[in-house]
Symmetry: C2
Subunit: 291 residues, 2 copies
């Protein structure tokens, strides 16, 4: 029977630290969210950020744009926000419409205000183990392991998924010389041959592929630790909406030693870390601390 690695106590710790850091700042941090078009999940996420901002004294501004915004218009908005000294962090809510070149926009956002941690220079610094604004989802996985005192040195960690926002940066963090690093890391994906033979070796398995309940008990090692990064909307037996992860949680529950639930796991911690990044960005913009 697996221990559930719930987000709740992790969040409590992160928010306590956040409150403390904001009081010390001497100014109210300001996050600017850019929301393009209409998307229910995005609306939910943004309103959650606004609620949390209110609670923890972070100003959260929302700028809405219609789905036909041009690349140039969006670039002008980013440049204006980069130059506005009252704005500490810039978050560009995804997905973006097809006419927008996401790489160009990610590179245009000032690395000092890049609370998503998607700017190439921040990802490069992540690789170099230098201080930087780090992407929130990989950080959330690390925070959960840290909170539950799961050390990874010498452990074999298998990551399912090679995305730029989870799989690749997380693989690099696990190679870092830290308590939640120093691991042997294998990254698998859609082209991997004989996948179960590899996942069966994992002391810690990270599922980040966006396939509902993909990971089955026959793919995991006895007493392994399973971190579920997926959030997939499916219909339950009665036809109602239901969020499930990339792991068949019920089925692996007896075989794993620990499991992060969905919902109430990695995703919840991600939101908190975005706000933590806003506070980090204040310090960056004030002091150009670590660039």
């Amino acid at each position: 029977m697996a221990t559930l690695l719930k987000a709740k106590p992790v969040l409590s710790e992160i928010y306590t630290q956040l409150k403390f850091d904001i009081e010390k700042l001497g100014k109210m941090p300001c996050l600017e969210i850019i929301l393009i078009g209409e998307n229910a999940a995005a609306e939910w996420y943004v309103s959650n950020l606004q609620k949390k901002g209110k609670k923890y004294d972070i100003k959260v501004n929302l700028r809405r744009f219609s789905n036909d915004i041009s690349q140039l218009e969006l670039e002008n908005v980013i440049t204006e926000l980069n130059n506005n000294i009252n704005i500490d962090g810039i978050m560009l809510q995804k997905p973006l419409p097809d006419q927008i070149d996401e790489h160009v926009i990610n590179s245009l956002i000032s690395p000092f205000k890049d609370v998503d941690g998607f700017h190439p220079v921040n990802l490069g610094k992540l690789m170099l183990e230098q201080p930087a604004l780090l992407p929130c989802t990989p950080q959330a996985v690390i925070e959960i392991l840290r909170f539950y005192q799961i050390e990874t040195t010498g452990k074999h960690i298998v990551i399912l998924g090679r995305s730029n926002i989870v799989g690749k940066p997380l693989g690099l963090l696990f190679l870092n010389k830290t308590l939640q690093g120093n691991a042997t890391v294998t990254t698998c994906h859609s082209k991997t041959e004989n996948l179960p033979a590899i996942t069966l070796q994992a002391d810690i398995l990270i599922a980040a592929i966006g396939k509902p309940e993909f990971v089955k008990p026959e793919m995991i090692k006895d007493n392994s630790i399973i971190i579920d990064v997926g959030t997939n909307l499916i219909k339950d037996a009665s036809g109602n909406d239901k969020y499930v992860g990339d792991v068949d949680a019920e089925a692996v529950y007896d075989k794993a030693s620990a499991l992060s639930p969905v919902p109430g796991g990695v995703g919840s911690v991600t939101t908190a870390l975005l706000l933590t990044n806003v506070v980090k960005s204040v310090k960056l913009n004030q002091n150009k601390l670590f660039y």
Copy 2:
């Protein structure tokens, strides 16, 4: 008996392309090398670059500094070279003296002139699979596999070594969606437990740990491909200097299906790719092509 993946024909192809590209450029590319202190290996490498530069119409300037150069002095030199429009590429020969903060200097070199590919923004773009100046050693491994038509899709590649200049960037390149990418990648290092159990699974094994003849036949799979990135100076039986790789080449020769030799393998291709990066940097500085 292993096929030897020799550098020679790979180099011939790279230099043919280089010559063609330089003729098309309409200007003589210029590389500025910064050499600090005295170091036999560095002198050899630099003089080799100068020779090759002469042969292929690349101007190679050498600036020497004494070992007690200060951080500020070096930063001023870099800034001057960044601003000099006649200089296309800047190479800072390693190792650097202790008083120099290597991370700061790597970040200061213009990403457009960063022929070593060590700037965080270039490493970030490497991760994002965007065009960039890429570090030469990982690129050399990819070029050798490409030349010898070794496709890696779905293959299990095990990398020994997690350095910022080889192991980490190479692991990311192997995850790219390319013919020499799409692999399942495992990165091992000094903290890896039960190393042979992992290396024995490798269809392709990359050794980049700087330990002479570390990889023995009992660590490799039958008919696997072994790429040796190490260059270690040791004494032979008669007490003479001798360069060997991280692989016990003689011992694995009968078990592997292919093996890159040392010397005459990855290292030789690295030099050629540095010059290729100089030409790339000309295009970058002229057109700001891919930033």
